[in-house]
């Protein structure tokens, strides 16, 4: 693809390394040619680099496919998914999943982004409902500002919640930030 068409979140391959574009800085000095400075993050999880390109140059866009997969279980640092069409299983390292590994419920379906046979990322819903399995006792005194406390949901993820949340409540969590959004239902 032409450098002009590279945008934030475009995936490209340079010397066999897969990068996600984090930032494109476009500069056009005076009457000169366009200069593109790309900040790119190595998608196999090791660092961010800057590269300069000029108008007219080309880069290889990574051909990525998506497939529907079901999350099965965790094995050490690997998260095991299964292609719902072929029943092929792939282990995905926790590093690749980042914060998203905290929101995987056994049996849930996700869209997996593949580079050849290699899982690159999973797409989760923006919010997910999870049951609270553990929480601190709330402090007695009611105050004007809502008190926050620490709770643990069924996937083992620890999140700050308002003090009124009890074990058994189902709460909504934003999977991008990992923050509590609201209570969906009360326990019992």
């Amino acid at each position: 693809m032409e450098i002009e068409d590279v945008r934030k979140n475009t995936k490209i391959v340079i010397d066999g390394v897969l990068y996600n574009i984090v930032d494109v800085d476009f500069t056009k000095p005076g009457k000169g040619r366009s200069i593109y400075r790309l900040r790119m993050e190595n998608m196999r999880g090791s660092g961010v680099i800057d590269r300069t390109f000029r108008s007219g140059e080309n880069v290889d866009e990574a051909r990525l496919d998506t497939q529907n997969e079901q999350y099965l279980y965790r094995e050490g640092d690997n998260y095991i998914f299964m292609d719902v069409k072929t029943y092929d299983q792939h282990p995905v390292p926790g590093d690749v999943l980042g914060i998203k590994k905290n929101f995987l419920k056994e049996g849930m379906e996700v869209v997996m982004l593949m580079y050849g046979d290699e899982p690159i990322d999973v797409t989760l819903p923006i919010t997910i409902d999870l049951k609270v399995i553990e929480t601190e006792l709330s402090t007695k005194t009611a105050t004007i500002t809502p008190q926050m406390k620490s709770s643990v949901v069924e996937t083992g993820y620890r999140v700050d919640t308002p003090s009124f949340i009890k074990v058994g409540d189902v709460i909504k969590i934003d999977t991008r930030s990992g923050n509590y959004v609201e209570r969906v239902s009360t326990g019992k």
């Binding site: 002009e4 494109v24 800085d25 476009f26 500069t27 056009k28 000095p29 005076g30 009457k31 000169g32 040619r33 366009s34 200069i35 400075r37 300069t52 000029r54 108008s55 007219g56």
Partner: protein, 309 residues
């Protein structure tokens, strides 16, 4: 959560009001100095052919990438001091400091050279400075900038020798020039002061005349504040033969590199022998507003960018 249009436009209101103040003050500045505000076509049969500026076409005509040629035709007919706010269009130019459709301020002065135009730029920008704090001191993206006059002049030769270790007046290498400019020279400018870069290589003269006594340099200047390239000024080239030759070279390069056929701007070339000695400048109004609004992106000083239009 994505911002809705009413939310975005509400957020931009302070900047858009400040933008209107900048426009008013610019008009007042030129009126006080007896400049005439003019308007020239947005669609034209021919525009200045530039190797790295790709124009939009419209029903067999070109959208203006700059009002320069028409303004010089007015000068050639005896209009001595003119200015214009004009909408300009440049294909593919999109980024934090670019939108393909943008507002250019150009002004021309008969009898002047680029030194006089640089003084105009200094006075105009300090006269329209808006925002909190004293007028000769602004803050852009966390960096205090001292606008006290005069602003330091730096030759292209010295800037490149200092930051990139070579002299572009002696070596015609436009690819290396552009790359080093962005990655080395611009980042080395003193952040707390404007920089007036003067005396461009003759091979990058464009529509500027060469420096009398130094055929390697052109009387061209660019003004930078806070890393923003704001204005490009010339002692205007008045030699029609030399101008035609430069246009011809540009047309050939464009044909070869973009496969686009650009016509020779004949009406302009016919007027050129009548053009008096003059100086002129093109200044990016959106970027000037960015500076006074402390805006990191051009998107924060336009109601509707290309993506929102």
């Amino acid at each position: 959560m994505a911002e809705t249009e009413p939310e975005r436009l509400a957020r931009l209101q302070t900047n858009l009001r400040r933008r209107a103040v900048v426009h008013e003050r610019i008009r007042a500045f030129f009126k006080e100095r007896d400049f005439l505000e003019v308007e020239t076509p947005i669609r034209a049969a021919a525009i200045a052919p530039e190797e790295f500026i790709t124009p939009f076409t419209s029903e067999g005509r070109f959208l203006a990438a700059s009002p320069e040629l028409h303004m010089k035709r007015l000068l050639a007919a005896g209009y001595e001091r003119i200015f214009q706010f004009s909408r300009c269009f440049r294909k593919g130019e999109r980024g934090r400091r670019h939108n393909p459709e943008f507002t250019m301020l150009e002004w021309y002065r008969a009898g002047a050279d680029y030194h006089q135009i640089i003084r105009d730029i200094e006075e105009m920008i300090t006269a329209v400075a808006v925002g909190p704090g004293p007028k000769d001191e602004i803050k852009y993206q966390g960096q205090p900038i001292d606008l006290k006059l005069p602003w330091p002049r730096l030759t292209v030769k010295q800037a490149f020798l200092n930051a990139a270790g070579w002299d572009p007046l002696a070596t015609n290498d436009s690819l290396r020039f552009d790359t080093d400019f962005v990655t080395k020279v611009l980042p080395a400018f003193s952040p707390g002061r404007p920089t007036v870069l003067i005396d461009y290589p003759a091979w990058a003269a464009s529509l500027a005349r060469l420096k009398p006594g130094n055929p390697l340099a052109a009387e061209r200047a660019e003004v930078f504040i806070g890393g923003l390239e704001l204005a490009n000024a010339y002692s205007e080239l008045t030699d029609a033969n030399e101008q035609k030759q430069r246009f011809r070279e540009a047309i050939e390069k464009i044909e070869k590199e973009r496969g686009q056929t650009m016509p020779m701007p004949e009406k302009f070339l016919e007027a050129l022998p009548r053009l008096p000695q003059c100086g002129g400048v093109a200044l990016g109004v959106d970027r000037l507003v960015m500076l006074f609004c402390d805006a990191a992106s051009i998107d924060d000083v336009m109601a509707f960018t290309e993506d929102e239009a």
